[in-house]
């Protein structure tokens, strides 16, 4: 049995794509799990699930301890051996705890998953982006987590049939307590789909100055602003949907412009697949120039407005 789970509907659809491929190759059936209310079982079946298990529970908030218990129950009950979980933060801590319970192998953040010599094999970025490790499971159950956008959802097939099973699973209540959930403001940008990205880093002195990047992004088709980790995580000048890198979003636009970004390997890991990379930095020794096709050594406060104007003039 192949089993997929995410607490995010969209990510579940992406997992179902890889899940159906593996299920076909392994000659097994594919189960999707919903924890809580049944909202999407029809959708999951149309996207390839042969079975949807709805784990009914009074729990209404994610806690890794309790969700691990539930999934452990479903996995045992369905005899699932190959488990695909989304690589969002909840998914990763869930997969890891689950792996501990099953004495299982787990590979997180897989950028590719396939069968090789009949063994489940996965690729993941290591050394902060300096290399890709190819790892293979020796035992079952085997658990992988997959980031968003690694696979697209399959087209919907309304004719695909599947069964829906409701299950009640006993959970050992966690002694931890969720006190508060605070939605953080996001601008809803989608850097993964952007064709052109202009990114800012610590070279910017004030939050307001980020308008220099958005103005440039505006004259370029693409209009998307990205940033390095400190801009989103330390300074919180931009929401985390702008954050690019190893621990942020992985992007591959046609054009990536990095302004005031030093080019540490963790940032490069998120944008190295871009088409053309441009760097603007006042330090001629900045690492970013090694990863750039074109670079301007100069003060971004001078370069960016000039670049915006020049492009405006050229493009009319």
């Amino acid at each position: 049995m192949v089993l997929v789970y995410s607490d995010d509907h969209k990510l579940t659809l992406e997992l179902l794509n890889k899940g159906s491929e593996l299920a076909r190759e392994l000659n097994k059936s594919l189960t999707a799990v919903i924890i809580g209310k049944d909202e999407f079982s029809k959708d999951y079946i149309a996207h390839g699930a042969d079975k949807v298990v709805i784990a009914e529970t009074e729990l209404n908030q994610f806690k890794a301890e309790e969700y691990t218990d539930i999934l452990e129950g479903v996995i045992k009950e369905t005899g699932s051996e190959t488990i695909l979980i989304s690589s969002n933060k909840n998914g990763k801590e869930l997969a890891s705890r689950l792996a501990a319970k099953f004495k299982a192998g787990c590979i997180t953040d897989c950028t590719n998953v396939y069968l090789k010599d009949k063994k489940l094999t996965a690729e993941r970025i290591v050394y902060s982006g300096n290399a890709v490790a190819v790892e293979q499971f020796n035992t079952i159950p085997q658990i992988v987590t997959i980031p968003s956008k690694v696979f697209d959802p399959l087209p919907k097939d309304e004719k695909h049939k599947g069964e829906v099973i409701k299950k009640k699973i006993d959970v050992q209540k966690s002694s931890s307590k969720i006190l508060k959930v605070q939605e953080m403001k996001t601008e809803g940008v989608n850097v993964e789909d952007a064709e052109i990205i202009v990114s800012c880093g610590r070279g910017f002195k004030n939050k307001e100055d980020i308008k220099l990047v958005s103005e440039l992004a505006d004259v370029l088709k693409g209009r998307t602003v990205g940033c390095s980790r400190p801009i989103a995580a330390d300074l919180k000048w931009l929401s985390e949907d702008h954050w690019i890198g190893l621990s942020g979003h992985k992007v591959k636009p046609k054009l990536y412009i990095a302004a005031g970004i030093s080019g540490q390997i963790q940032h490069i890991a998120g944008m190295r697949d871009s088409g053309v990379i441009v760097a603007i930095n006042k330090d001629p020794e900045a690492l970013i120039f090694k990863s750039a096709d074109y670079g301007i050594v100069g003060d971004l406060y001078e370069v960016l407005p000039k670049l915006t104007d020049a492009i405006k003039t050229k493009m009319g």
Binding site: F289, Y294, I296
Partner: protein, 254 residues
């Protein structure tokens, strides 16, 4: 308060060079350091100890030279170090089982601190696996921790939301890079650290069963980065003009 900090020795990823023929990373001779975020975990432990007193144990599974890294943690403020000799065959399963078994052997612990991820493998598995093995609550991606006498309140950073969670002890917490600014030890502290104990344990000392890896790394592939590296560095107006022309030639401006 008894705090255990799990800290890993890693290669300094910013010093890795790539073999021009195979594109594979050359790991031999790369300087070693404490994985960045584990220093944040250590700093957080010190802050908790400053408030409640207690004992901080730094725990590492690693090669013999990792003792130098433990000395750095002792200089920062750990009271005691434990180095468990790294078995030859290792994966996340083996490693987390050794760490959990060592923690059981230490016996008394209120808070176990880990990094959100290590900078070489970046798996994020070890903390949650330890919590699962010890069957205790876990709080991951903590960007804030307030420890009180009987409980801890911590804020998880999930990107699109912040979740504040309270837990009794014992608890395992993984911290983010942003939670604090790790201190640099003074010369006095570095000297004083020489008198603090570092225990040498082996995997056999702590784990009751022989641990065989569940996964095998079959290859480490390089990621070639070939870029044009055309850098304009004279007059800004001229540089901007040349850049725009190049971008038009590349066909990325439309």
């Amino acid at each position: 308060m008894n705090i255990i900090v799990c800290a890993k020795q890693v290669v300094d990823v910013s010093e890795i060079k790539v073999d021009p023929n195979t594109n594979k990373p050359i790991l031999a001779g790369v300087p070693q350091k404490i994985s960045d975020i584990d220093k944040n975990a250590m700093e957080e432990a010190i802050k908790i100890k400053e408030k409640h007193s207690g004992k901080i144990t730094a725990l590492t599974v690693g090669p013999a030279d990792a003792k130098e890294r433990i000395k750095e943690l002792l200089a920062m403020g750990a009271d005691e170090g434990i180095l468990i000799a790294q078995p030859e065959k290792l994966d996340y399963y083996v490693l987390s089982n050794i760490l959990a078994a060592a923690i059981k052997k230490i016996g008394e612990y209120d808070i176990i601190l880990c990094g959100e991820a290590s900078i070489d493998l970046f798996s994020g598995q070890i903390g949650p696996r330890i919590a699962g093995l010890l069957n205790i609550p876990q709080i991951t991606y903590a960007q804030d921790i307030t420890a009180e006498k009987e409980k801890v309140v911590s804020e998880r950073n999930l990107g699109d939301k912040a979740v504040t969670i309270e837990s009794s002890f014992p608890v395992m917490i993984t911290v983010t890079k942003e939670i604090n600014e790790p201190r640099l030890p003074s010369l006095m502290q570095i000297l004083a650290a020489a008198n603090k104990p570092i225990h040498d344990w082996s995997a056999e000392d702590v784990a009751s069963e022989k641990l065989e890896p569940k996964i095998t790394t079959v290859d480490i592939k390089g990621v070639p980065m070939e870029r044009k590296n055309v850098i304009y560095q004279n007059d800004i107006d001229e540089s901007v003009g040349k850049l725009v022309d190049s971008l038009i030639k590349e066909g990325v401006l439309r």
